[in-house]
Amino acid sequence: MATDKEIGIVSCGVYIPWHRVKREDIAKEWESFGGGEKAVAGHDEDSLTMAVEATRNCFRVTGFPLDLDGLYFCSTTPPYLEKQNAAIMAEVFELKQTTMTLDVAGSLRVGTQGLILAADAIRAGRAERIMVCAADKRMSLPNGANELAFGDAAAAFCLGRENVIAAIEGVFTTREEILSTWRSDRDRYVRSYEERFGLEMGYNRAVPGALDLALKKTGLAPGDIAKLVIYAANPRHLRGPAGKLGFDLKTQVQDGLFGSVGNTGAAQVPLSLIAALEQAKAGDRILVANYSDGCDVLLLKVTDHIKSFQEKTRTISYFLENKRYLPYVKYLRWRDILPTEPPLRVPPEKPSASALWRDNQSLALLGVKCQACGTIQYPRLRVCVECGAKDQMVPYRLADKVGRLVAFSHDNLSASLDKPTTIGVVDFKEGGRLMCDLTDRDPEEIKVDMPMEMTFRLLRFVGGIYDYWWKAKPVR
């Protein structure tokens, strides 16, 4: 069994968005075929917001706040290319000044690359605990295989030495240079070369090669592995590596949620790994192979602490069960693939950097509590709305509180992509009131007094600036 000195996964959490597009709804428009469904980010979601939600799920197990020495954001679709996305996440979680924020980008392997870097930092004694998030919201052109395949999701892992649920027993990586699926800085959409080449000369060599290396170095045989988690652009491809090394496709290879979520890019293997952990028993060995421009292989051993994770996490089943189907045309509109007539509303203004900087000091959804009378309130004004005391406020985090919906309206006049916009007033059970938009809801289901929870979303993108905040959604 892993000792507390071994480095590993302390906790993890997934996030799968609420909306789905049925593959047949896409395929029928293009006289093609497609089964199952893919999870798609809302118009107000991106890799960063999904990573935040996955990280919050991770904190369900560890508790929050948690002292982190590092926060790594791993994605091929980071919102900012020159401005650190991890720095924004660190603000959301009020991490200490000396937390190392890092963006990892460039290939679908970034999730495991982030884990390896984190494990190295902990082993080197530079860090105790590091959060690694992987998220992707990849863009695909209509009438293509990628459009049918791609899904959006995020996963977060807290790495450390205490109470690990899965210890990292080995790390093996190989490199490779090949063009099979890629996106350049001038491209909006992911490109793919003819599949046979990338499969034969890339994937079917690199993955079995790296797995073989790992098995040899660790002296293990396929029979010693409870679950094999491998990246695959398409579940058919799994046969290659599994077959070559003698793993049983049905019992050993982890289902990558392709049929219900899709190929989630950087989040693909992290998500599959968490799926494996949700079913794992203490003592299980999990072998992870992530592929893209080379292969990362991680050997993990599940510990006794796995049960506590399984009990506290918001499971993949939770996300799979809670969903709503999005019409294909709306999906195209939400991703700005289909240009549409702009609404007859004044275009929004670009945020002021200085005003946004001040606002982002509350990005953790901070209100205040008046020390004179105890009233919790938002926003962080200096004079108490209840007792009038000045400068007696301490910050108070509302993000994880549950509230009820006092009043709402569905607004068809608003210029949102998700019309009608639902405006709501949320009263938190423990005090405080927030006026905000609602999201991830069917307007029909909204009723006064419904329980509400908060979720991190994108409010607007204007002038090249992403303006993030929180919205409320029904507790499911």
């Binding site: 203004e349 005003a355 926003p379 209840e386 309206s409 068809n412 006049l413 009131r433 307007p443 409010l459």
Partner: protein, 398 residues
């Protein structure tokens, strides 16, 4: 603190046609309203000693008024207090006369909304030209529209008082029908046709449960008043209208921040009303107020106002709506000229347009809309949103 009662009087008023005045710019509107007021009062532009100009979206600076009217080198103040702008401009003008600094002053409210080309009112961002999505300005959301903010009261009120949505929409619809009927009797109203309840109920939803006919439209317009000292008023006309109470209640957006506010009323209306009744010496509003012009930007707004101004008991506006209490023939006629809904809502002008109707009613000159033997009229002009309001209540009498 002293009451304003009878210290100042209105001796002339003007009002343009409200509507889609494509051929008129802001200056045209100002000139039409002001010169009608001059003529009505029997004064010349040179008699005006100071002026107040109310507008919300249509410009900054009092210079707009002096340029339009050729006012040379007199004091001109630009006033803004969201949709209560015109009432607040009027209020400030009255105080300047009441304190003895001026004998005769002009107040004009004007708005040129149709140049924005938007569906519904433009957002604050247009006015300020900066990002107002910051939490220092408002709560943080994707977009903001007025109908949605007011609809919050509808969902809450219906839920609180056990009114099912269909019944609720019928109640609100009756307010729209009343106001369109009344407005069809005023030649200057934006909309000149009465409507049927079925039309209101079938109309597309703007912000649930408010439909197209539950929302006032976007209009251009201007209105003006000439104010003088109470003891001078009869020199100008035999039937001046005296100011009895001038109140405005501005809240700290408490409704947005405190769980105490239950979204079933507008606290600022209630407070302004209480203060105005006290100042004017009114003890039974339902009996003593002969006619009221209130801020029906949305039908739900008017419904809440009935309770907030003490015309209906809390939670029981429904009974009065159904009994026709607020129709032209009812006990307390409300919005006899069609209100914001039918007459129109050029924001900076509305408070003065409300006074224009009350001024005609009190002098027996309201024609087919005339109420019987009026003695006191009230205008209630609501700026902001439920939970974050600036509301004026003005009482005038003959």
């Amino acid at each position: 603190m002293e009451s304003i009662k009878d210290k100042v009087a209105i001796v002339g008023m003007g009002c343009t046609k409200f509507g889609e005045n494509w051929e008129q710019d802001l200056y045209d509107l100002i000139v039409d309203a002001a010169y009608e007021a001059y003529e009505d009062a029997g004064v010349e532009p040179k008699d005006i000693q100071a002026a107040w100009f109310g507008t919300y979206f249509s410009g900054y600076t009092g210079q707009i008024l002096s340029k339009a009217l050729g006012l040379k080198y007199i004091p001109v103040t630009r006033v803004e207090n969201m949709c209560a702008t015109a009432s607040d401009a009027f209020r400030n003008a009255c105080y300047a006369v009441a304190c003895g600094s001026y004998d005769i002053v002009l107040v004009v409210g004007a708005e040129k909304l149709k140049d924005f080309g938007t569906s519904g009112l433009p957002d604050n961002e247009v006015v300020m030209g900066i990002w107002t999505g910051s939490q220092q300005w408002t709560y943080r959301a994707e977009t903001f529209t007025a109908p949605a903010h007011y609809a919050l009261m509808a969902t809450r009120y219906f839920n609180k008082y056990g009114i099912d949505p269909e019944e609720g929409k019928r109640l609100l619809g009756q307010i729209a029908v009343k106001n369109h009927y009344n407005g069809s009797l005023h030649p200057k109203a934006h909309f000149q046709k009465a409507i049927k309840l079925e039309d209101v109920l079938k109309a597309p939803i703007i912000a649930w449960p408010l439909g197209l006919f539950d929302c006032c439209g976007v209009s251009d317009g201007a209105a003006a008043a000439i104010i003088c000292r109470g003891d001078m008023a009869k020199k100008f006309r035999p039937d001046p209208v005296y100011v009895k109470a001038l109140q405005i209640s501005v809240g700290p957006q408490e409704g947005y921040r405190s769980q105490k506010y239950d979204w079933d009323h507008v606290e600022e209306t209630y407070q302004a009303g209480l203060a105005a009744y006290k100042e004017a010496g009114v003890t039974n509003p339902r009996k003593e107020i002969s006619v009221a012009e209130v801020h029906d930007c949305f039908t739900i707004t008017e419904m809440m106002i009935y309770e907030d101004l003490g015309f209906s008991p809390r939670g029981r506006a429904k009974e009065d709506i159904e009994a026709g209490t607020f129709t032209l023939q009812g006990e307390v006629p409300v919005n006899t000229d069609g209100g914001l809904k039918c007459f129109g809502h050029p924001i900076g002008a509305s408070g003065l347009r409300m006074l224009y109707e009350v001024y005609y009613q009190l002098r027996g000159k309201a024609g087919p809309r005339q109420v019987k033997n009026p003695s006191l009229g009230l205008t209630q002009n609501l700026g902001g949103t439920p939970g974050a309001g600036t509301v004026s209540a003005i009482i005038v009498g003959n």
